[in-house]
Symmetry: C2
Subunit: 298 residues, 2 copies
């Protein structure tokens, strides 16, 4: 299954490492997918060691899936797009990793998502899932908005919606704001109420908060005022971010992430028609990144 170029096999590994899972694909130089795999969380700033383990595991499994040995990783050109390496400390630590690949090119999960969405070309994307952020890559400019993390950033994201919802139902429980449909929905999902519900959420992760987001969207669709206010506030922020990205005239703009489809109808009318469907996955973007980084060095 090896692809040979000038009698030397060229294999690419694309890694899309996020906060909840790490996806890997192995391709030849024609972008033909030879093997894929998924491993655990890989956010480099949340848990660096776990990130290394997930990258390694997914890479090895993808190689085996492609019919190679794990040790053949020594021959691959790896493009690694990783959550958390937007923070300088995590980027430095990951760059210094004694990796098992022939070459490693490291960038953010945002960058590979953007490259994937636009088929390896430049453009802009907003990712709205557990977290939220926007990024733009053009000849003249690279820009990243948001993506700062939970609980201080990621407005409009699933985790942010869940946090807003929990804040609201606690205030409602004290009679300090109007009652809301969110109370019953969240109590049912957490299988707890009042202080037991709080106990369930002590130290909860962004993902756990994000699991409350569908309830907020559901309550907003049912006309609940508190839920509607949360969604409108979040969508208004995402629209403002989109407007900033579009100011720089990207060739294409896409919305990605598990929440984007449900969020788009709440976004501003001037933004919605400018959203293009994504063309490919972030792990394909990681391959594009490895390929262009290698070319740039040759």
């Amino acid at each position: 299954m090896n692809t040979v170029l000038n009698s030397k096999p060229i294999l690419y590994l694309g890694i899309d490492g996020g906060g909840s899972k790490c996806k890997a694909r192995v391709t030849d130089e024609h972008h033909q997918v030879l093997g894929t795999a998924v491993a655990g969380p890989a956010n480099a700033s949340n848990n660096f060691d776990l990130s290394l383990a997930s990258i390694t595991e997914s890479a090895e499994m993808a190689m085996v899936d492609a019919g190679f040995k794990k040790t053949d990783l020594a021959n691959v050109i790896a493009g690694i797009g990783l959550a958390g390496v937007n923070l300088p400390g995590a980027y430095k630590a990951m760059s210094e990793w004694q990796h098992p690949f022939a070459r490693m090119f490291l960038t953010t999960d945002l960058h590979i998502a953007c490259l994937g969405a636009h088929g390896g070309e430049q453009g802009a994307v907003i990712i709205a899932g557990t977290g939220s952020c926007g990024c733009l890559y053009t000849d003249n400019k690279t820009a990243i908005y948001g993506g700062h993390g939970f609980p201080y950033g990621d407005k409009g994201s699933g985790a942010w919606m869940g946090l807003q919802a929990l804040q609201t139902i606690l205030l409602a429980g004290d009679g300090l704001v109007e009652p809301t449909l969110l109370t019953e929905k969240i109590e049912r999902q957490l299988n707890a109420s009042g202080l037991s519900m709080v106990e369930t959420m002590v130290g909860a992760s962004p993902r756990q908060y994000g699991k409350l987001a569908p309830l907020v969207l559901e309550a907003a669709q049912q006309g609940d005022a508190a839920a509607t206010a949360i969604i409108k506030d979040g969508a208004s922020y995402i629209s403002a971010m989109a407007r900033k990205l579009l100011d720089d005239k990207p060739a294409r703009f896409s919305m990605l992430g598990g929440l984007s489809e449900k969020l788009i109808p709440w976004m501003d009318d001037d933004i919605i028609p400018q959203i293009s469907a994504p063309l490919d996955q972030p792990d394909a973007g990681a391959i594009y990144f490895a390929e262009s980084s290698l070319k740039a060095q040759q």
Copy 2:
């Protein structure tokens, strides 16, 4: 130094166990303070084992300070007011502790703060420090508002202010809200800027967020719009909580906690004249609690 009643020495231990420290006092039955001590954090729901260790350490040190042996704890009537035991799981676990005292009476840190503030009598208090909450103890009613914890509760608290401030300067950094004085102040205090600042605050504790609160108050006093909006939003919530407490006609109402003095001027005009100065400390309230609980059982 032992006090003897019916040829049996009666010693009281009062424990005020909070999220950052645990205060202990030993008194005789006339509330005469014989010894005091301070140990580490004691929030029972944040870290149960640490809470037990801090209670034990502060109790033993207060006994030694009073001229007794540590083992004399076996003779004391302990009143323990503890952060975190408002959550049912933590209350149950703490109640089942094989404690070293003759008797242990357990209640919340709120309850002993309220008893202390009103000299052992009933009333209402709002505590605004790292966290925020209000409570009321009258013959007819016990009520607790807020105090749910960070990041979903404790609006108007120091931790809440710090989180709002960080959220705001991240949005300002992206050009998505107006520039604010908070940016420079917080960057200076954290000795970091932009993404490095975010890295500093990854997984930050409520106390770390609370350390940003004085900067918000300072910026608001300098007329900064974003900081003023944060303080007004927080003070408005605290005023609404005060109004709910005052609805039940407590004999006295006090504001406690490290932030209360600075917050009071921002509170609603109808509330401010109804605030009475606190009479005594929470660890004195723990002694009142032990005393009345013992009497109720006799």
